[in-house]
């Protein structure tokens, strides 16, 4: 994707994931490639069922046993696809960590938050219980939990949603990971709390030189928080590039549709929202050609023949569409100011 001088920290090449669903095997992810250098941030955008969370779980080695993974995922040059569970267990929570969407369910209700934050430390480092507890308090303090020293022995139900998300962030950061994956970290939270949590994550990423993959369905969250972004639909990356480049000139009809469909503050009354016809297809019955073909306004016969190749519309900005000449001529471009 981008010609890098120093070696990428994480490099994904032609990742494919086949899942067994109730409706038979489904190709959940096809041909996903990207690389991230230390300190870089990447956003994944898309609706439910587009493959963004499955991609994240593949990076974490958390896919179900029945899933078939093809392609390669390299962390600092070493291959992760096909790594044994025992070896993955040494990476997870240590070099790659994840913040999950639901802070209500990501924490174990039966253990104190102090114990849960200290768990990765106890597992991956040789520190004693007392040291781990001290470190857990420091971490909880760093993520802005008030009175961390007093509340370290409290249980998850004694905290609000925003506070619980802070606890899961502290857990993810405990071992100073190289890669942080945040899967919709603020979807369950209020808009004001969302701002605080995103500020906190951005601050920590900068402070510790981590790479971050931020997954969100909210274009606003992506626009403000990552350097590069990938838009996913039906298991494929339909558009990728620098965040500013994509928001200035959206190339794929799906990206444009997503952008237009959002209700906007201060839009004139009575204007109809532009919708994308149809619904997100199920993974088991994706169309054979372009996955967006059935919902696309400018679809042609050749779109349905084969998966379109990625067209570079500018340096580092790729669009998986055969009709970029049409889509970008009438593009929304910088409408969203």
């Amino acid at each position: 994707m981008s010609g890098s001088i120093n070696t990428p920290l994480i490099e994904v090449r032609d990742l494919g994931i086949r899942l067994n669903t109730s409706r038979g095997p489904a190709q959940a992810v096809r041909g996903v490639s990207f690389s991230l250098k230390r300190g870089e941030t990447l956003g994944l955008v898309g609706e439910s069922g587009c493959g963004k969370s499955v991609t994240a779980l593949a990076l974490m080695g958390l896919l179900p046993d029945s899933a078939v993974v093809s392609g390669s995922i390299r962390l600092d040059g070493s291959e992760l696809v096909g790594l044994s569970d025992a070896n993955y267990g040494k990476l997870r929570g240590n070099r790659i960590s994840m913040i999950f969407q639901e802070p209500m369910t990501a924490l174990n209700p039966m253990h104190t938050i102090g114990r849960q934050v200290a768990e990765p430390l106890r597992r991956h480092t040789n520190c004693s219980a007392a040291e781990a507890r001290k470190e857990a308090i420091a971490l909880l303090d760093r993520v802005g939990l008030p009175d961390a020293a007093k509340r370290v022995d409290a249980y998850p139900h004694q905290f609000s949603g925003g506070q619980r998300q802070r606890v899961t962030i502290a857990m993810a950061l405990a071992c100073q990971p190289d890669v942080l994956i945040a899967d919709e970290p603020t979807t369950a939270l209020d808009v004001t709390i969302q701002g605080q949590i995103l500020d906190l994550i951005a601050g920590l990423v900068a402070e510790r030189g981590m790479s971050m993959i931020l997954i969100s369905h909210d274009l606003g969250v992506i626009a403000e928080n990552v350097q590069r972004m990938m838009v996913m639909y039906g298991g494929t990356v339909v558009e990728s590039g620098a965040t500013n480049a994509v928001f200035t000139r959206m190339g794929h009809p799906y990206t444009q549709g997503l952008f237009r469909a959002r209700p906007r503050l201060g839009a004139r009354k009575g204007t109809r929202l532009q919708t994308i016809a149809g619904t997100v297809p199920e993974l088991a019955d994706l169309p054979s050609g372009c996955t967006f073909a059935d919902r696309c306004a400018i679809v042609e016969d050749r779109c349905r023949m084969a998966l379109p190749a990625v067209v570079d519309v500018s340096a580092g900005h790729g669009v998986r569409c055969v009709r970029t000449d049409v889509s970008m001529a009438e593009a929304v471009g910088a409408v969203g100011a």
Binding site: V191, T192, Q194, H217, D218, A223, R264
Partner: protein, 342 residues
């Protein structure tokens, strides 16, 4: 399809009239010797909705939005205050009469996966509000169901399917059809689109808009998404800790908001545009609902708060035509440059 600014004469009876609504919940006792604590979920909320108009209610979790919805739907008895629909107090009606009155106000819930019984057919789910009102023969009932399904963009053939055969957006259409079947005057929708994908959310919002134009419905739309209420509502109430802190037309609220909390909400909305960078925000703590503090409830988070704010609670007052705010410094907030929308 422009929304006409109807000038309502004071003599005109509002469809819904909520007066000084207070709701307290008692917490579990923590000590044998101390009185049980109380949560003040609503602290004197007054609002009215005229026929064919829509009221949006925004606020964070814990602000009392959903309690307000439950009280308007007469699902709970308020601690004090009244809810009147077309001049009749819902909480003073005999049970049988209230049951019949329910045909005039229906509700659409947030989660279209949880709000439809997976073991019932769509026909039975949609017909339920009618069958609850009284006996009706099967042919008429199926005719009515087919009618509302068409209105929400589904087909007659969908009647005998089960909820799992539908996508999230279609399920929300079914929930809307169920609310429409009694031909209500008011629909209370609690976060109707927040569980839906962006592309489907737009379809459902357009549908709600079309139904209002077609049937002259009124909505009370509860949402944490400012853009959604801006799209559908004629009037917006911003709630904070059980009180309305600002109320007015979307234009007034979003162009020159008068309460620092509204401004904080507006500024927190991420903008989907090029060159977006994080705007750092100061840490804010959420005040507790159970403390009976004297001054302004927002004072601990407010950048403009002074001693007067902490001592004296501000009353909701006029800061413009049909624009109310509960802030001592409303004029100063309105003078600030607008917090641009996303």
């Amino acid at each position: 399809m422009t929304m006409l600014q109807q000038t309502s004469s004071p003599a005109e009876l509002p469809l819904l009239d909520v007066k000084d609504l207070v709701q307290r919940y008692t917490l579990p006792r923590e000590s044998m010797f101390k009185p049980a604590g109380q949560v003040h979920a609503l602290n004197g909320v007054t609002a009215r909705v005229m026929a064919g108009r829509s009221l949006g209610v925004v606020g964070e979790s814990g602000s009392g939005k959903s309690t307000f919805a439950r009280l308007v739907m007469a699902l709970e008895q308020p601690s004090s205050g009244s809810v009147s629909l077309m001049g009749r107090d819902l909480n003073r009606m005999p049970a049988g009469e209230l049951r019949r009155a329910r045909r005039d106000f229906q509700m659409v819930f947030q989660d279209p996966y949880g709000s439809l019984d997976p073991r019932q057919t769509i026909a039975r789910i949609v017909a339920e509000p009618l069958t609850a009102l009284g006996r009706m023969d099967r042919a008429t009932l199926r005719g009515r169901v087919a009618g509302v399904l068409r209105q929400v963009g589904l087909r007659d053939a969908d009647m005998d399917k089960f909820p799992h055969e539908f996508s999230g957006g279609q399920r929300q259409r079914i929930a809307i059809a169920r609310a429409l079947i009694t031909q209500p005057k008011l629909i209370v929708a609690d976060e109707p689109v927040s569980a839906l994908d962006v592309s489907v959310q737009a379809q459902v919002l357009n549908l709600l808009q079309d139904l209002q134009d077609q049937f002259g419905l009124s909505y009370i739309l509860i949402s944490h998404d400012l853009a959604v209420v801006d799209y559908l509502c004629d009037e917006i109430a911003v709630m904070y800790l059980g009180r309305i802190v600002e109320q007015g037309s979307p234009e007034d609220l979003f162009a020159h908001c008068a309460h620092p909390y509204t401004r904080a909400l507006l500024e927190a909305v991420p903008r989907a545009s090029a060159g977006g960078t994080r705007r750092r925000r100061g840490a804010q703590s959420i005040a507790s609902q159970s403390t009976g503090a004297t001054g302004c409830a927002y004072a601990s988070r407010c950048p403009l708060a002074d001693q007067y704010c902490r001592d004296t609670a501000p009353a909701l007052r006029n800061v413009g035509t049909a624009h109310l705010a509960a802030c001592h410094h409303a004029e100063a907030v309105m003078a600030l440059p607008p917090a641009a929308g996303g």
